[in-house]
C-alpha cells in the first residue's frame, strides 16, 4: 500500500484531487435547493471537467469544453433560472391602479407585490407601448406568444379592473382566490386553443 502511494507522481495527485472535486460539485448541484447559487457551481463544473480532459491528454476536447462551458452554457442557465422566478405584468390600464405619481404605490401594485412575494416570484411591471397599442381582441395571443404573464386593463363602462391570464397557469388560480374579496377586480382566464384554430 505504501509503495502504491509513493509511485504516484504529481500529475496523478492532481487528477485524483480534481476527480474528488468533480464528485463534490456534482453532489452539491444535485442536493442544493436554491437555484440561484447553482449557476456558479455549473460554471465551475465545466472548468474542472476541462482540466481533467487536459490531464487525459485530450487538448482538443478541453478547448471545446472551455469555449462552450465558460460563457454560453452558464448564460442560458442564468436566463432560464431567472425567468422561472419572474412574473411579468403588462399594465394597459394607464391610471393610478398601479402607478400613482410615478411611484409604484397603487393598490393594484400592493396586491400583486403581496401575491408575488408569497410565491417567491420577482414582479416585473411593464407598459411597453408596442404591446399596449394592440386591441382588446389580441389579448389572448399576447398572453400566449410573448413573455407576458398577466394583463391589467380597465373596463371603461363599469370601472372595474380586469386581470387577464392563461387558464393553464397555476398562478392564475391562486390569484383568483386572492382577489375574490375585492369588488372592483375581475379575473378572466383564457382557455387553451389547439393548434390550427
Amino acid at each position: 500500500m505504501v509503495n502504491y502511494i509513493t509511485d504516484l507522481s504529481l500529475i496523478d495527485y492532481t487528477a485524483y484531487a480534481l476527480q474528488f472535486l468533480l464528485i463534490f460539485i456534482a453532489v452539491a448541484i444535485v442536493v442544493h435547493k436554491n437555484n440561484g447559487t447553482i449557476i456558479i457551481l455549473i460554471a465551475s463544473f465545466s472548468l474542472v471537467t476541462a482540466s481533467l480532459y487536459v490531464i487525459n491528454n485530450a487538448p482538443d476536447v478541453a478547448i471545446a469544453e472551455v469555449a462552450i462551458g465558460s460563457a454560453i452554457i452558464p448564460l442560458i442557465y442564468v436566463i432560464s433560472i431567472s425567468r422561472q422566478r419572474e412574473f411579468i405584468v403588462l399594465d394597459k390600464a394607464m391610471d393610478d391602479f398601479i402607478i400613482s405619481d410615478n411611484q409604484f404605490t397603487g393598490i393594484g401594485y400592493i396586491l400583486l407585490k403581496r401575491f408575488s412575494d408569497f410565491y417567491h416570484l420577482e414582479l416585473n411591471i411593464t407598459n411597453d407601448p408596442l404591446l399596449c397599442r394592440l386591441g382588446e381582441g389580441k389579448d389572448q395571443i399576447l398572453c400566449e406568444q410573448t413573455n407576458v404573464d398577466l394583463i391589467v386593463s380597465k373596463d371603461p363602462a363599469s370601472g372595474e379592473y380586469i386581470l387577464k391570464g392563461k387558464a393553464s397557469n397555476i398562478l392564475m388560480n391562486k390569484l383568483e382566490q386572492m382577489t375574490k374579496d375585492y369588488d372592483n377586480i375581475r379575473v378572466i382566464k383564457f382557455k387553451d386553443r389547439d393548434f390550427g384554430e
Partner: protein, 112 residues
C-alpha cells in the same frame, strides 16, 4: 485517472435525474452524465507516457485519437440539446406557471 471515480459521477447524474423536482436540475443532471461518459471514453484511450495526438518530430507513443474525435461531437451536440431543453423549460413555465415536475404532472390536462 481512475475509471471507478468517473463512474461515480455518472451515477450521481442518474440519481439527480431520478429524484430532482425541478426541470432545470434534470437538464443539468443530463449534462453531468454526459461529462462522466466523456471522461470514461477519454480514459479508455489514455495510458501512462502517451503524448497528445499531434504529430511532431520524435513522437513515437500517442494516445488514441479516435475517442477524442467522437467526444468533440458529443460536447457540441450536448450543448445544443441543453439549449433546446432549457428553451422548452422556459415555455413550460410560461404555460403552467411552475417548473416543478410534481405540480406539472398532477394537472388534469397533462394526464391522459
Amino acid at each position: 485517472m481512475n475509471p471507478i471515480l468517473t463512474f461515480l459521477v455518472v451515477l450521481i447524474g442518474f440519481y439527480g435525474l431520478s429524484t430532482s423536482d425541478n426541470v432545470i436540475k434534470s437538464v443539468f443532471s443530463v449534462t453531468i452524465i454526459e461529462s462522466g461518459v466523456i471522461l470514461l471514453f477519454l480514459n479508455l484511450g489514455n495510458f501512462e507516457g502517451g503524448a497528445i495526438p499531434i504529430l511532431s518530430e520524435g513522437v513515437t507513443q500517442i494516445v488514441d485519437p479516435l475517442p477524442q474525435a467522437l467526444m468533440i461531437t458529443t460536447i457540441v451536440i450536448g450543448s445544443t440539446v441543453t439549449a433546446l431543453s432549457l428553451m422548452l423549460c422556459i415555455k413550460v413555465f410560461h404555460h403552467y406557471g411552475t417548473v416543478e415536475w410534481k405540480e406539472v404532472l398532477s394537472r388534469e390536462d397533462v394526464k391522459s
